[in-house]
Structure formats: structure tokens, C-alpha cells
């Protein structure tokens, strides 16, 4: 790579500027050695990822500390204050039954994030448990798990989700189970592929010759080397599940309407009159969903760049 003294006339890029700064600091004897892992530093150097982290943190905090931020109850019906436009009293206005929308967005965030993050973590646990072991052991167990995941993954996800919703019925727990069931395949394949390449490493051979049991080798010694991509996968599937929950609830087929979630708030926007005259009901919450998913995606991308040097474009 070219340093600052490289004699060309090409334009200086951001990388050059960064390199100059590092040199300047080194010359001034300020450069710190060690301290913090390389991946963390790389992540913090990625502007989009840091932006994502900040937005993510703000929305999570606002949802968790919702009672401190708004005096309203998200389910309290106030028939005298129906369909009020945003004001100092109601920041996001009120909906058709006079419920305060700011409170609903905050409290709804709790459920939407719970569904997204919860299902992603559950799916990751199942996918990793199966993928790490079968990927290491191979044989018929591996072939069986692969076939099963192929069957799950050949369904377009939303079709499978809706099919299961129609069979199992709508509830918060069912939705999380369904997301887990339909989402484990991706992370399973990733974990398995990682294991297939790790299996050839010499330290695995060494462990095996020490006589360690297979689960011990797979889970204790090989799994930590696959944690980077697993974290990336969890973030990206959180984003996907939040989008799906919003879509399903928008259609009225996700979380039951009595529980406020981001998708359920948007549900009324199917009505053309609401769409036309009451923009405050659907616009702010749509922006919040988009911002949140965007921030999670940025974090996922940043994590990938930070943990996996081969994936950079």
C-alpha cells in the first residue's frame, strides 16, 4: 500500500489521511500499543457502524425506560382525545381510540425488539448446537441435518411463517417459536461450513490425539473460533425478524392486536382514510422501524468487516 510519500498525482483518499494521522501520532510518541482488541478498534473506526450503535442504543433505552419518558399508558383509551395531531401534550398524536402514540411506539418497541432479538438468539442457539456438532462429526447425522435444513429453507420464509401461523394460531410465543423454527437453517449452515474448514486445523488433530471427547472438541475448542460470523448472523437475522414481525402485524396476522407492537400500530394504515388524513399514526412509527432495522444492519455489517477480513469489499 502507498504511504504519504508515494510520488503520484492521484487524489488522496480517506485511507491516506488516516495513515498520516497515525504516523503523526507515532512520531509524537503518543501511539498506544495494545489496549483493546483489533476487532473492536476496527468496528469503532467504521462510521456507519458507530452511527448504528448509537441509534440502536437510543431506541433500546427509550423502550426500556418508557415509563420515565412518557406519562401515558399505551393501552389507555381516551374517547375525548381521538385522532389528535401531534402537539406538546401528545408528541406523536393519538390514534382512533385516543391512545397516545408516543407511548405506544415506546412500549411497542419492547415487544418488537423482544420478538426480533429473542427469535434470532433462539434460532442461533439451535442452529449452532446442531451445526457445530454435526459439522465436526460428519457422517449420517450431518447428512440428515443438512436435508432437514434444506427442506426448511426451500420454503419462501414468509409463506412458511404464514402457514404455521394459520395452523398454530396467533400469539406472541407462537410467533417467536415460528420465527425460530423458520430461521435456524441459515445460521446452522454457516456454523457447519465454518466447522468443516476448522476440522482440518492441526490443533483439532492434536486435541483428538489427546483423546478429548467429540462434543468437548466441537463446543469448547472449535466453537469460539466461529463466534465472529455467528454474532454477525444474529444481528442480521434480528433485523430480518423485526421486519417480518412488522409485516405480519401490519397484515393483522402477527402478534395479537391487543399487544402494542410496531407492526400493530401500523395495522390501521390499511385503511385509506387513515393513510390520507392521519399521517401521524403511521409515519413516525414507520420511520422508527426503519431506523432501528437500519441501525442493526449497519452494526451487522460493521461486525462482519471487523471480524472477517476476507469479506471486505
Amino acid at each position: 500500500m502507498s504511504g504519504p510519500n508515494y510520488p503520484t498525482t492521484r487524489r488522496r483518499t480517506r485511507l491516506d489521511a488516516q495513515f498520516d494521522r497515525i504516523r503523526a501520532r507515532e512520531e509524537a510518541g503518543l501511539a498506544k500499543s495494545g489496549g483493546g482488541s483489533r476487532a473492536v478498534k476496527k468496528f469503532l473506526n467504521n462510521r456507519l457502524a458507530v452511527f448504528g450503535l448509537v441509534v440502536f442504543a437510543i431506541i433500546i433505552f427509550a423502550s426500556v425506560f418508557a415509563p420515565l419518558l412518557t406519562p401515558y399508558d399505551p393501552n389507555k383509551i381516551d374517547l375525548r382525545g381521538m385522532l389528535q395531531a401531534p402537539s406538546w401534550e401528545h408528541w406523536f398524536g393519538t390514534d382512533r381510540t385516543g391512545r397516545d402514540l408516543f407511548a405506544r411506539v415506546l412500549y411497542g418497541g419492547r415487544i418488537s425488539i423482544l420478538v426480533g432479538l429473542g427469535s434470532a438468539v433462539l434460532a442461533a442457539i439451535i442452529g449452532v448446537l446442531i451445526g457445530v456438532y454435526t459439522g465436526y462429526v460428519g457422517g449420517w447425522l450431518d447428512a440428515l441435518a443438512m436435508r432437514v435444513s434444506e427442506i426448511f429453507m426451500s420454503f419462501p420464509q414468509i409463506i412458511l411463517v404464514l402457514m404455521l401461523v394459520s395452523i398454530l394460531g396467533q400469539s406472541l410465543l407462537n410467533l417467536m417459536l415460528i420465527f425460530t423454527l423458520t430461521g435456524w437453517g441459515g445460521i446452522y449452515r454457516m456454523a457447519r461450513a465454518r466447522m468443516l474448514s476448522l476440522r482440518e486445523e492441526e490443533y483439532v488433530l492434536a486435541l483428538r490425539s489427546f483423546g478429548l471427547s467429540r462434543p468437548l472438541i466441537a463446543y469448547k475448542h472449535m466453537l469460539p473460533n466461529a463466534l465472529g460470523p455467528i454474532m454477525v448472523n444474529i444481528t442480521l437475522s434480528t433485523a430480518a425478524f423485526i421486519l417480518q414481525e412488522a409485516g405480519l402485524s401490519f397484515l393483522g396476522l402477527g402478534v395479537p392486536l391487543s399487544i402494542p407492537t410496531w407492526g400493530n400500530i401500523l395495522n390501521v394504515a390499511q385503511d385509506i382514510r387513515v393513510l390520507q388524513t392521519n399521517w401521524w399514526i403511521w409515519l413516525p412509527v414507520g420511520v422508527v422501524i426503519s431506523l432501528f432495522v437500519l441501525s442493526v444492519n449497519f452494526i451487522g455489517d460493521g461486525l462482519r468487516d471487523a471480524t472477517d477480513p476476507s469479506q471486505q469489499g
Binding site: W282, I289, S290, V293
Partner: protein, 320 residues
């Protein structure tokens, strides 16, 4: 080549069979059977239980599970998908009337996203590290982060309700059936459906183009003294585009998933719309059949993709 194709098909057949079996199992586990679809519950209550039982027997419902599965399966192969629970319409008819609308939308979205997505991706790769590149990356990220239906709502609100450029929804006005008349109806749903696909194609095209540009033959072309645009377009772009075209097959699930929601937002009378109303009314035979058909479409698409990849890249079929 032929042995490769045969091998791929042989892998596919048992899988398709297992999926059919699972779907049938789901159908059996859900409440209601063919008799309850044929006779409305009020009439069934007043009927003699023995009569109902006789009807069940005559329809073959008393037979063991594997016999029923087999007759369902052979019917399926002949294109006889059974009957809808609401109205008893043959499901094959429902699909035949709904499918063209869905295909129309999907085709437009597919062409649009492929052209625009690969163009933007290539531009992004050629200007790697520039402001244009980062702007396109962020736009692509927005495209996959904003819920599709929210795009739809914003589009309806701006272009249909406020500006009045396009109709709010539906596929045509009553009595106006030519393609020209229907075009304004198609614009918004097709564009919204394209957004997520375009973002995906763009990302893929960018990395594929970067990969192509780093190859040795590009250096050779440059050192021959070819003008930069020729190097990029004739050597880089051509190589980068093949995987992008193959990608079309992999986008089918995204397309099906997207059209389910988009058809609902724009009241587009396609399969996705039918699927949602079947899920709402718990019309299990319709739900299962549409799900089954979508899986089969995905499987066939992936088979075609595999074959195409093998045609393009000999390493695929010789490997393993």
C-alpha cells in the same frame, strides 16, 4: 453435463416428495376434512350421523393414512389440487385466475431490479471508495431496512392520494382491460416490489465486479493499452454479470415473499392476496396448496440455476 443434470434431478425428487408428505401431514392435522368443506356446519348438524359417515366412506376418508396420502399425491400430479373450504371452488381454478396477475408483477420487478441493480452495482465498484460508492452503499442499506409495506404506504400517500398520478390499488378499472389501461395500476406495486430486490442485486453486482476487476486478465487488458472503458465494460462487466444473472433464481423466494405483502398493500388480485385471505379464514387446503406450489417453484428455480452455473463454469460439474 447430462449426468450432472440427472444427478441434480435425482436429488430433487425425494426432497420434493418429502415436502409433499409434510404438507399433507399438516393438512391432516388441521381441523376439518373434505366433508366439512362440502356441507356447511348448520346442515351437517341436522344430518343423520350415519349419513355423514357413509359420505366419508364414499369419499375414501375412512381409508388408512397412506392410502389417502397416495390418492392425494397422485391427484396433485395430475393438477387436481382439491377444493377450497369457502365456496368449494377447485383450487386449480383459483390459481389459474390469480397467477397471471402475480407473474405480471414479478416479471416487471425482476427485469427492473436486474437492470438497475447491476448498473448501480457496477458503478459503485468502478468508483470504489468514492463518495458515490458510499452513498450507493447507504442507499442500498436503506432499501433492505425499510419495510416494503411502509414503502408502499408512503408511495400511495404521495403519488396516489396527494398527487393523484396513479390509482390507489387494484389491477384495472372495470371495463378497461388492455395493457395500456392497466399500466398506471402496475407502476407503484412493481416499483415497490423492486426496491428490496434492487438493493440485493446491487450489493451482489458490486462485489462480483470488484472480484472480476482484480483478476489477471484485466491487468493484461490494461497493459495491452486498451482504453479504460473497454477494459471495464467488455472485460470486467461481462465476467461480473454472469453470476448476477444466475442470481435471479435465488431471488425467487424474496420475490414471492415480497409479493405476498405488496399485493395486500395495493389490493393486487394475485396469488399472494389469495394466500393472505386463505390464512385469515383458515382455509387450509388453499394455504397448503399455495405453499406447496411456491416451494416447488423455488426448487425448480434452484435446479435451473445449478444447471446454468454448471454450463457457465465447468469446475462445478467436474468437482465434488
Amino acid at each position: 453435463m447430462l449426468t450432472y443434470i440427472i444427478r441434480r434431478v435425482l436429488i430433487l425428487i425425494p426432497m420434493a416428495f418429502v415436502i409433499c408428505f409434510l404438507v399433507y401431514l399438516g393438512l391432516e392435522l388441521t381441523p376439518g376434512d373434505a366433508v366439512s368443506h362440502m356441507i356447511n356446519p348448520d346442515a351437517a348438524g341436522s344430518m343423520n350421523p350415519a349419513q355423514l359417515e357413509a359420505l366419508r366412506q364414499s369419499l375414501g376418508l375412512g381409508q388408512p393414512f397412506h392410502v389417502r396420502f397416495w390418492s392425494w399425491f397422485t391427484n396433485l400430479l395430475q393438477g387436481n389440487f382439491g377444493y377450497s373450504m369457502s365456496g368449494g371452488v377447485p383450487i386449480a381454478n383459483i390459481i389459474a385466475t390469480r397467477l397471471p396477475a402475480t407473474l405480471e408483477l414479478a416479471a416487471v420487478a425482476l427485469v427492473f431490479s436486474t437492470v438497475i441493480g447491476s448498473l448501480l452495482g457496477v458503478v459503485s465498484a468502478l468508483k470504489r471508495g468514492s463518495k458515490t460508492d458510499s452513498a450507493l452503499t447507504v442507499i442500498g442499506m436503506l432499501g433492505v431496512s425499510i419495510p416494503e409495506f411502509f414503502f408502499g404506504l408512503v408511495a400511495i400517500s404521495i403519488f396516489a392520494l396527494n398527487l393523484g398520478w396513479f390509482p390507489v390499488g387494484g389491477r384495472s378499472m372495470p371495463g378497461y382491460l388492455t395493457l395500456w389501461d392497466r399500466l398506471p395500476h402496475m407502476v407503484m406495486p412493481a416499483m415497490v416490489l423492486s426496491i428490496m430486490l434492487t438493493a440485493g442485486v446491487m450489493r451482489y453486482a458490486r462485489s462480483s465486479m470488484l472480484d472480476a476487476l482484480s483478476r489477471d486478465f484485466i491487468k493484461t487488458a490494461r497493459s495491452k493499452g486498451l482504453p479504460e472503458w473497454r477494459v471495464n465494460l467488455l472485460h470486467g462487466f461481462r465476467v461480473a454479470l454472469t453470476p448476477v444473472v444466475v442470481l435471479i433464481g435465488f431471488r425467487l423466494p424474496v420475490l414471492i415473499g415480497g409479493s405476498v405483502i405488496i399485493e395486500q398493500v395495493f389490493q393486487w388480485p394475485g396469488i399472494g392476496n389469495e394466500f393472505i385471505s386463505a390464512v385469515r379464514s383458515q382455509d387450509y387446503p388453499v394455504v397448503m396448496t399455495i405453499a406447496l406450489l411456491s416451494v416447488m417453484a423455488v426448487l425448480v428455480a434452484s435446479l435451473i440455476v445449478d444447471i446454468l452455473t454448471a454450463v457457465i463454469d465447468p469446475r462445478v460439474r467436474l468437482g465434488e
